[in-house]
């Protein structure tokens, strides 16, 4: 009860307690403000409703500011701050800690949604009353979740003899997260998540007001912003994984990744439907549905990943969510799904007059197929990530959908989509249009030529790596197909889409404004990005090797020689392990993957936990990617108990323990126990004498030399039986390394950049203007002009 540690801790400062209380008050006040805003909308008191919406949003910003200042001010008496903060962290990591946990990431979602709410509500025109009301319901529910799942709760046990004590530091941001990505990726992707609310609320308010047409023009720029920002966030996540996690890939089809990818696909579907609605005034019902799906799929994914059903299937780990908060999230999901679908059937489907038939093989006809394919692709990914959940509901044995299976199923939709991306720019609204076939034929021929050249270049040893001609790709259900034609098809389609869109821009460049090319630019970005992902994965080579410093090992033609670790102290975060990489073509380079040790010990191996960052040698033609495993220093996991006279023979050595001797008196300082060990290695017998000495700090282990490669230590002894726990250390750590050769990963970065640029160009072009663009301009810009 009166541990001196606790007494010496200082009391919580008044400002910290006040800030924490203010944070709680802000959340509650936010919930109340949003409730009043909703009631105000029902009573048609618009000024009241709008002001309460603004005030509610500001309280969320206030709560966020409180949480951030508690982190910056080291107020570890709060549980969330304690679990995610660390006094030694730099300022940027203290701020990033705000969203490193569950409660904080909900708060970030609320804040980014509120930002978009404030940006959009005043220009919502005739929809404003309902728009604000629906937005207020959503933000109010998030306040409800945050009231239960509060980040402002106290740490258990900080109330001590009438005062609140402050622990000196917290458990800290997980070291694996500590790099600049944790500062920029979550805010970006959460801005993307926040933007989904705009489309949902617009769709719902369009159905509630009964005006199913005009919302499309209002929501379109925000849908473009959403696609660009969410897309950028997703790309950043992939780059983070690639650059720091050492998995050697950008995308793992992890449920958390899919939770952001599915809504993105839905927004892409919505955007294309909006083009048809704003240009032709058709597809009213479908566009409404697509307006709701991004938000609904995101809430579904959030629920799925937080509910615990995917524990076995995800690489991300989740804290158990507070039950009441999870119920609110489930209620939000159920209400938004059933409410939205009911409303859609009652008002959207019934309300929209029948479209009648569109001209066959005109652009609208192709858009329709494209939108269906995109939406089904999103649904397929959502089904894939739900499989463990479905199996659990059906009480069947759990199953996991792995990366290759995702690739197969996704390709059913991806192949036709990318084909449409290539040809639809040449289609006019009424029909295929004049000169459709000759132009597609020209593009096709150029593509065939480029694919051939590309494939040939890939086979050149200095540029690429030949594909394994015997490699096969599994097909769903049954059967296999050879990898080479499969890769050829995928590459062909990506180049087809690339050439088609460049061709179209060239055709239009004389007559149209630069920013109207945003759609084509985005499509070029998709083709380049997908080409990069497909080539870098399909032509990838990798091999795992282990080596000690100075020992050369080879991996698919490369020779790796690890050197000695470089760093100031073991905990130096800039520590590096130099690895000489060379090959027969004259490549010589020193890879410097990051490696340092944490203050925590891995009790089982008896060595400190390590942190590693991969080393990537970027070049245009390929990345050489070196990922380190946990360095191995001990032979036995933990230690091994030897009875007197016991021998352990393994592939490296033979060790016999012959018992121990005591020098000195039992229980006296300085008394030393010395084991008698024979270690046979390479035909030589060594006689290390590992010792244990009694000191004021307990038993002290000593390293005993055992030949050129090993040390032996003794950690515990049993006086009665003469048994002892021994450990054998390698004199030089063994470094597990995985080398990847990944061709044309540069395309992934370039493609992501082009895609974002295209999205922002289109958003700029579609920005809300004082005067609605006239019909000619609409026609002109909707992914190309007409050719007649």
């Amino acid at each position: 009860m009166n541990s001196p540690d606790i007494i010496s801790l200082s009391s919580a400062p008044q400002w910290g307690l006040t800030t924490g209380a203010a944070g709680r008050v802000f959340i509650i006040a936010g919930a109340v403000a949003f409730l009043i805003s909703l009631i105000g909308a029902f009573l048609k008191r618009d000024r009241l409703s709008n002001w309460m919406f603004v005030i509610g949003s500001l309280t969320l910003f206030g709560a966020f500011a409180c949480l951030a200042s508690l982190f910056v001010g080291n107020q570890y008496e709060f549980k969330y701050i304690y679990e995610h903060g660390d006094v030694a962290n730099e300022l940027k990591y203290k701020i990033a800690s705000v969203w490193s946990g569950q409660q904080g990431s909900f708060l970030l979602w609320a804040v980014t949604s509120a930002i978009f709410g404030l940006l959009t509500f005043s220009s919502a025109g005739i929809y404003r009353r309902w728009y604000v009301a629906i937005y207020a319901v959503f933000l109010g529910s998030l306040c409800g979740i945050l009231a239960y799942e509060t980040p402002f709760g106290f740490l258990d046990g900080v109330l001590h003899q009438g005062r609140i004590i402050v622990p000196t530091t917290g458990a800290g941001l997980a070291p694996s997260l500590q790099n600049y990505w944790v500062v920029i990726h979550p805010p970006t992707i959460f801005l993307g998540f926040g933007s989904l609310t705009v489309m949902f609320c617009y769709a719902v308010s369009a159905m509630l007001t009964g005006n199913l047409l005009d919302w499309a023009r209002l929501v379109r720029p925000w849908a473009l912003v959403s696609v660009a920002v969410l897309g950028l966030g997703i790309c950043m996540g992939g780059m983070w994984a690639y650059e720091t996690l050492g998995w050697g890939g950008f995308w793992a089809w992890d449920p958390v990744e899919n939770t952001s990818f599915v809504p993105w696909l839905m927004v892409v579907g919505l955007l294309h439907a909006l083009i048809v609605q704003t240009t032709k005034g058709r597809w009213l019902a479908s566009t409404l549905l697509l307006g709701g799906l991004p938000f609904i799929t995101f809430v579904y994914g959030t629920f799925l990943t937080r509910s615990g059903y995917l524990q076995n299937a995800s690489l991300h780990s989740f804290a158990e969510m507070q039950r009441s908060a999870l119920w609110i999230l489930l209620a939000l999901l159920v209400v938004s799904v059933f409410g939205f679908m009911g409303l859609w059937i009652a008002r959207g489907v019934m309300g929209a007059k029948s479209d009648g038939a569109a001209p066959a093989y005109g652009r609208e006809w192709f858009y329709k197929i494209g939108v269906y394919l995109i939406t089904m692709l999103g649904a397929a990914v959502a089904i894939g990530m739900s499989i463990p959940f479905f199996m659990a509901i059906a009480k069947r044995d759990s199953k996991v959908v792995q990366e290759p299976l995702y690739h197969l199923v996704v390709s059913w939709f991806f192949l036709p989509i990318i084909f449409l991306v290539a040809i639809v720019p040449f289609v006019s609204w009424q029909s295929l249009g004049k000169n459709f076939w000759p132009r597609v034929r020209d593009v096709f021929c150029v593509t065939i030529g480029l694919t051939g050249v590309g494939f040939f270049l890939c086979k050149l040893p200095r540029i690429g790596m030949p594909l394994d001609p015997t490699a096969m790709v599994g097909l769903p259900f049954k059967g296999h197909m050879p990898l080479v034609p499969w890769m050829l098809l995928l590459m062909f389609l990506c180049i087809f889409a690339l050439v088609g869109n460049i061709w179209r821009i060239a055709e239009m460049s004389k007559r149209a404004k630069v920013f109207s090319f945003g759609g084509f630019v985005a499509h070029i970005g998709v083709a380049v990005l997908m080409g990069g992902l497909i080539i870098s994965r399909g032509f990838e080579r990798s091999e795992q090797v282990v080596a000690q410093p100075g020992e050369p090992v080879s991996a698919f033609g490369y020779t790796l020689i690890p050197g000695h670790w470089q760093g100031l102290t073991e905990g130096d975060k800039n520590g590096k392990l130099p690895v000489e990489i060379s090959n027969a073509d004259g490549l010589r380079l020193t890879a410097l993957p990051g490696l340092y040790w944490l203050p925590t010990m891995n009790e089982s191996t008896g060595q400190p936990n390590s942190m590693r960052w991969p080393f990537i040698d970027h070049s245009f033609s390929h990345d050489l990617y070196l990922s380190l495993g946990d360095p191995i220093m001990t032979v036995y996991p933990g230690s091994k108990k030897f009875e007197k006279g016991q021998t352990d023979t393994n592939k490296m050595f033979k060790l016999t323990y012959n018992g121990f001797e005591m020098h000195g008196k039992p229980g006296q300082m300085g008394t030393r126990f010395e084991a008698n060990v024979d270690l046979t290695f390479d035909g030589q017998v060594y006689h290390p004498k590992p010792g244990l000495t009694m000191t004021a700090n307990g038993l002290q282990e000593e390293l005993a030399d055992a030949g050129p490669d090993f040390y032996v230590t003794m950690s515990t002894i049993e006086a009665g039986t003469g048994a002892a726990n021994l450990q054998v250390y390698f004199r030089q750590p063994i470094y597990p390394m995985e080398l990847f050769y990944k061709p044309l990963t540069s395309l992934v970065w370039i493609g992501a950049g082009i895609l974002t640029l295209g999205g922002l160009m289109a958003a700029f072009y579609r920005r809300p203007k004082s005067k609605a663009p006239n019909a000619d301009e609409e026609e002109m810009s909707a992914v190309g002009t007409q050719e007649s």
Binding site: M1, S3, D5, I6, L9, E83, H84, G157, V158, L159, H160, I165, P167, A171, G172, A174, N312, S317, A357, Y372, M376, A379, A380, I383, G384, I387, F390, D397, S398, K399, V400, V401, Q402, L405, L408, V409, W412, P476, F477, Q544, V545, V546, T600, N602, S604, T605, N609, D630, I632, V635, Y636, P637, N650, K651, M652, F730, I734, P736, M737, E738
Partner: protein, 133 residues
Amino acid sequence: MRVPGAVVTGIVVTLAMVGVCAAFIRNASPYVTVAQAKASHEEGVHLAGDLVKTSIQTDPQNGQISFQLKDQTGAVADVQYIGSMPGNLNEATKVVAVGGMNDKNVFVSHQLLIKCPSKYESQKTLQTAPKGV
């Protein structure tokens, strides 16, 4: 008789989604018991179980670890893992090995998923949390 476009679309979409579900469910790699793994000799299955801690044997120079897993039915399988050594194997309570049984009924795995009772953060929490208040 003219069939409305919406009906055709509806049928096509439904069929596609049923196909997606079927493809995922039939091809998803199952969690198996030791007996099922022995019976099928299928590759790429997930064998989940409790790690028998005393059974861990490492051969770091060849990048191999062998250990035993006890599944939920109590059956025990020998697992041989080839790959870089997971640092936290000994803290693991549950291990999922991805791979397949070979002819000698050894489960050969190139991928281990390790469930630890506590993550790094909570470990540190245990050490530093004020106790006995």
